[in-house]
């Protein structure tokens, strides 16, 4: 993946981070390849 974004790849981990850090979630769905 050509990206400098520190992506979460797990829904529950993202939710936990959002709750812990007071942030919103930017969810990007993609098609591999």
């Amino acid at each position: 993946m050509n990206s400098n974004v520190a992506w979460e790849t797990d829904w529950n981990a993202a939710l936990a981070r959002a709750r812990g850090e007071g942030l919103r979630i930017l969810l990007s769905f993609h098609k591999p390849g």
């Binding site: 993946m1 050509n2 990206s3 400098n4 974004v5 520190a6 992506w7 979460e8 790849t9 829904w11 993202a14 939710l15 981070r17 959002a18 709750r19 850090e21 007071g22 942030l23 919103r24 979630i25 930017l26 969810l27 990007s28 769905f29 993609h30 098609k31 591999p32």
Partner: protein, 151 residues
């Protein structure tokens, strides 16, 4: 998105600082179905309680995805009735991305937030005036037309 948008350093810094960036495959079930996915790329701005505040279908370059995300954060602040924060976020779209497709909506939301914070209907008429001057062909200018009758 992987060729143009996500390698962009400004976009990466913005995402890493201001949201939890979450990347899932199109067939990640049951989430894909729960989020009404039918095509990619597909973006959603959600809060920690899983409430949806904005979604978009189709490619966006960095100069559009950043202000699009700022508008999503604006919508989430409005949901929380945090008018000051909503105004700050919307203003960033206008200061940093005034030529983006998100800018007319930012003018619209800024006026709405000023109205909600003050209950002063002059803000609604003012937002129509700004939109008419800067973005006469925007759908947000059309949406503000009813306020032309305000005194």
């Amino acid at each position: 998105m992987d060729a143009v948008t996500y390698p962009d350093p400004e976009l990466a810094a913005f995402f890493n600082r201001e949201v939890v960036p979450l990347r899932l495959a199109f067939d990640d079930q049951p989430l894909a179905e729960r989020m009404h996915l039918r095509f990619t790329p597909y973006f959603l701005l959600l809060d920690a309680q899983e409430r949806l505040h904005r979604r978009e279908l189709g490619f966006l370059p960095p100069g559009e995805l950043i202000p699009w995300t700022l508008l999503g954060l604006t919508a989430a602040a409005m949901y929380d009735r945090d008018w000051d924060q909503a105004q700050r976020l919307g203003q960033r779209v206008l200061d940093q991305y005034p030529s983006s497709f998100a800018a007319p909506e930012a003018v619209f939301l800024r006026g709405i937030n000023r109205f909600l914070a003050s209950q002063d209907r002059r803000h609604l008429k003012e937002l129509l005036e700004v939109l008419t001057e800067r973005y006469p062909r925007s759908i947000w200018t059309l949406k503000a037309q009813p306020w032309a009758k305000l005194k």
